[in-house]
Amino acid sequence: MSTVLAELSDVSKSYAGIPVLKGVDFTVRAGEIHALLGGNGAGKSTLMKILSGLVQASGGAVRLGGEPLSPATPAQAQAMGLYLVPQEAHIFPNQSVLQNICIGMPKAAGAYRQRVEELIAQLGVSLSPDTKAATLEIADRQIVEIMRGLLREAKVLILDEPTSALTPHEVSTLFGHMRALRAAGHGLVFISHKLHELRAVSDRITVLRDGYVVLGEDMAASADHAILAAMSPGVTALDARAGNREITGAPVLELEGLGGEGFVDISLSLRAGEILGLTGVVGAGRTELAETLVGLRPRSGGRVTLAGRAFTASGPREAVRAGLVHLSEDRQQYGLFLEAPLFWNTSSFVFGGLPFLLRPGREKTRFDEYREMLGIKCAGPEQPAGSLSGGNQQKVLMAKCLAAEPKVLILDEPTRGVDVGARNDIYRIIESLAERGTAVLLISSDFDEVVRLSDRIAVMAGGHLAGELAGGAATDDVAELAFEAGEAAHA
């Protein structure tokens, strides 16, 4: 058996008296990729924060390379050969890529320029060390984080949901990097909600639930249903697609030759009660299209017809009034008021319709209705939205959209960073919305998700519409179309 690089034994942790980890054992060996899985709130993040010195354990021992981690600080953990690549890359937007990588190193950045250039070549990425970090794409920010770890000669790299904001193409590139690091003798911890991703690269799997290790074995020896059952008893798989529905509603949203920032000549039509999946690789222009529809970006040409009338939104407020509601892909930044109570969030889209003097009682009753309907797990309407898990936050956002009674609902990546249980709930919510006559434009990079939900599938690449597929098309066909068109656009 290969060397143990990192070891957590009998680690426990409580926040304000509430136990989050209850005696967890976890090891990372040289030359392995160790998958870590668990629902939202299972304790994965806390466990990894303890391993990397960001959080102090309440009990148990942390050892890196055989030595106890003391003092338990990020600087010490890094000095002992461990680096945590967080889910959201920590970037200094006003500094260069080189500075971003080298901050915190014992010498000034100039001393590491050559090494950083070697790493860039080694990873085969097109990044300039002198680019200002504010201009980097999400995937490149992640690469910067990984290079930080490599420059610090980390033997153990923890990747916390590195794929959640990446397209399938970028994911396979990342997996290439991960395999190369494994071959070089590094130990990697890979956290993800997506089982097929974990299976693609991992050697071992550990599943956490409610602060306990409920499954720990070789990846090859564990079946999907066993893993899912361990993670959330009762949910053994994502619900299957219901089958093709007949869409009889009238067209509510029609785009004719619409152009804008990052896309040109898009023609689509969407009927009442229909779910249209819009997919593609990053840079396809999907998010830009959605933001242009609601008036967040300027339009450069074409026509939009909403419910039979020509429609131009000067901003989201007007779009909501006309029945077109958009849910951004970035729920933390553009979706929720994180400090505000939940019922403020559900009312926020229809704020203009509330009386001059607010009636919090009614707002709370309204929230409680949504809470029951959507299965939002929370302490009550007064709880701050930021304290909910990702899946529940997403449900609150759905409630917010429902309150606006949309004719057309645009959902941009509605299940990013959401666990299997909550994902099933969200799928059901989307389907029941469509059944009640709402037209849904579902933007997603997750081809399985698009196939699972959509009545029709449109694929975008490089700002153009690359093709349309019928509902129930094979996932591979969708992926093939998206990649081929994507490659052509990037050539």
């Binding site: 010195g53 890094q78 200094f92 006003n94 901050i103 052509a488």
Partner: protein
């Protein structure tokens, strides 16, 4: 060239400042002279030192509004010690120590106890002023020794000792921001979580930036006392807001992580130049605030508008490029 000026706040401000000098020079003969230059420099010293003190604090995404009170406290410490018969060097050390101690109190509140910096320093703004008033029984300190006044008087090449000290401090800050530790100050304000994550001593950086602030306000207090020869009750009152305005004018972002020494210096010179010009133009001094405030707004508005216009242009260009690229790719695909 125009592009560069629009992109660089320091350059914009430099152009505006030169324009102001030339304009006033055209109206008031005798304004454009070496004498005016040294007089702008020496009358701007106190503001310059306070601004250099707040600068690192703002870079770490904090704020310090107690600068004027610490200035007063240090000046009073200096005056009381001198009038009690202590030697000059010892009294100067005492004043500097008082400033650093006050800065350390701010730093402990913000970095140690986690009090938001605006709340903490609003509190100490009153507290330090109160300590100063109690120490003097509410009276002014007068008849400071000539040895102190000499520090503020022009001696070497039209510059005072304090003027030279200030120039050295500017060089020191400039050098520091080019050092590895200096970069820490910038990045703590740029993204605090990221800095913590990378193992930087975030709290120590914040604490020391407040201590540095205290030391600079003390130097400002010494300069103030040396220049006017006495210490009034309201010494330094309100100067922190002028310093913050000068910093913002010089392109220092109140959101932290962005700012240059050159911008700080030119921001302060701009404000002082306006004050000095008003004297030459024989406009009563009580107009200073109105004109200074109006100029601040005008420069910031022009700067902001230019920035928005440039960003829109860049964005349009970026999307044009990317759609050209896809068109070209399609043509190739069609040919194949």
């Amino acid at each position: 060239m125009l592009d560069r000026i629009a992109r660089d706040r320091v350059a914009t401000l430099l152009v505006v400042t030169i324009a102001v000098f030339l304009l006033v020079g055209a109206v008031a003969p005798g304004f454009l002279s070496a004498r005016t230059a040294t007089s702008v420099w020496s009358s701007g010293l106190v503001l310059m030192l306070v601004a250099l003190g707040i600068f690192p604090v703002i870079l770490t995404r904090n704020i310090d509004v107690s600068g004027g009170s610490i200035l007063g406290l240090s000046a009073v410490t200096l005056g009381l010690m001198l009038n009690a018969g202590h030697p000059l060097w010892f009294s100067l050390g005492g004043a500097l120590g008082a400033g650093m101690l006050a800065g350390a109190a701010n730093g402990a509140l913000v970095a140690g106890l986690g009090v938001p910096s605006i709340v903490a320093t609003l509190g100490t703004l009153g507290l330090f002023r109160g300590v100063m008033l109690i120490a003097t029984n509410g009276e002014w300190i007068e008849e400071l020794p000539e040895a102190l006044k000499a520090l503020g008087a022009k001696s070497i090449g039209g510059l005072s000792v304090m003027g030279i000290v200030t120039a050295l401090v500017i060089c020191l800050v400039w050098l520091f921001l080019r050092s590895r530790r200096g970069r820490w100050v910038m990045v703590v304000g740029d993204n605090r979580e990221a800095a913590r994550h990378l193992g930087l001593p975030v709290k120590r950086v914040v604490f020391l930036s407040f201590v540095w602030g205290g030391a600079m306000y003390a130097l400002a207090g010494i300069t103030f006392a040396a220049q006017i020869g006495f210490v009034p009750n309201q010494a330094g009152s309100g100067i922190e807001l002028r310093a913050i305005a000068a910093l913002v004018l010089g392109g220092v972002s109140l959101l932290g992580g962005v700012g240059t020494v050159a911008g700080t210096v030119i921001g302060v010179i701009f404000f002082t130049a306006i004050d000095t010009s008003l004297v030459f133009l024989k406009i009563p001094a009580y107009w200073n605030d109105l004109i200074g405030g109006a100029m601040l707004l005008i420069v910031l508005l022009i700067d902001g508008r230019l920035r928005i216009a440039l960003e829109a242009r860049d964005r349009a260009a970026r999307y044009r490029r990317s759609s050209h690229k896809t068109d070209a790719a399609e043509d190739q695909g069609g040919a194949a």
